[in-house]
Symmetry: C2
Subunit: 205 residues, 2 copies
């Protein structure tokens, strides 16, 4: 019987796990299922990943990185509302195209792992977007959190099917929401002179 090695590696396991997550859900990502996918016994995987938690952590880090790359691509060369929209769409599109990976990206990481993850790039890019809105600290931090909440919340609710029961397209609500955020952020901008009137267009860049 020709014994052919499966060619396992942490990277291949991570990628296959991400694919499995997209197909069956992140909670279905198990070492047994992954072993079946490679035509291998479960115990063999322990030579490449320490345990189930490490595998999931690797998938989470991979997804965070991939998402950050896409967002970075999307916002390159854009500013203001244009950048906000590009960022938001890249985010939502990823969550829709790769639901399992997106779910993985929300896997709880221990603090130091999180600090070394692409999660920090996400925060940095969000701050970059906000440069177009002239927000001083701590308002900028507040805005980072608000945007993160909206993006994640929308993706999560949409994925959960929460928008399926009403006959209004999720796409339209998304556009409306982004428009609303842009307006709100411009209202909050701190122009060098003049009164902060609602709807002031004092954002540079």
């Amino acid at each position: 019987m020709a014994v052919v090695r499966a060619g396992l590696s942490p990277e291949r396991l991570t990628l296959a796990g991400a694919e499995l997550a997209d197909e069956a859900g992140f909670d279905q990502v198990t070492l047994s299922a992954l072993a079946r996918r490679f035509g291998v016994k479960p115990a063999s995987l322990y030579a490449h990943v320490k345990n189930s938690h490490e595998l999931k952590t690797r998938i989470a880090l991979f997804a965070l990185e991939e998402l950050a790359d896409r967002v970075a691509d999307a916002v390159a060369g854009r500013a203001g509302k244009d950048a906000l929209t590009a960022f938001a769409n890249a985010y939502r599109d990823y969550a829709r195209a790769y639901p399992g990976r997106y779910e993985a990206a929300r896997y709880r990481l221990d603090p130091q792992t999180a600090a070394a993850s692409a999660g920090v790039r996400h925060a940095q890019m969000t701050r970059a977007i906000l440069r177009g809105y002239d927000l001083a600290e701590p308002d900028q931090t507040h805005a980072v959190r608000m945007l993160g909440s909206v993006f994640h919340g929308y993706a999560a609710l949409e994925a959960a099917g929460a928008f399926d029961h009403t006959d209004v397209a999720a796409q339209q609500s998304w556009a409306w929401t982004l428009d609303c955020l842009d307006t709100a952020l411009r209202c909050r901008s701190t122009p060098l002179t003049g009164s902060p009137t609602p709807g002031s267009k004092g954002h540079r860049q």
Copy 2:
């Protein structure tokens, strides 16, 4: 040996499951763990709940109901921004006080179960809040989704510890966000007369 019946019932199992979720996380809610909590064998629970999925569904429905009750209490007799803040705080406070139940409330329900759940009350109450902002359809639906996204997103990110790394209190960002939402919604209101505020592109679908 005095045989004392444990007094199991679907309701007691649901409540105990909710408590277990708050203590150890919703993913740790297992029939075995629940059986241990009652000093009973796992198989005994199958006389009261069909399987693990049904138990989790019951906990989810319970949490949705409980959360809806709290929100209803909070918004009673309030309107406008006052109501918005009360709604939002009731929501966030619940997520912080009962993280496991809140997680359970996001458990994926099949469509008809969801339609019969307290989830519809949540949507109705959100619409009630928005009566103070004079939004015509489909803007009202858009706003319902945006608010839901922010509330859920903020609770989820906060629970995940996403706000722990920056030295700005989550409470302040929360207040800022609510203020921002109030402003944005007022900008979007459709007064009987007067010019649309800058930033609104007359999106009436």
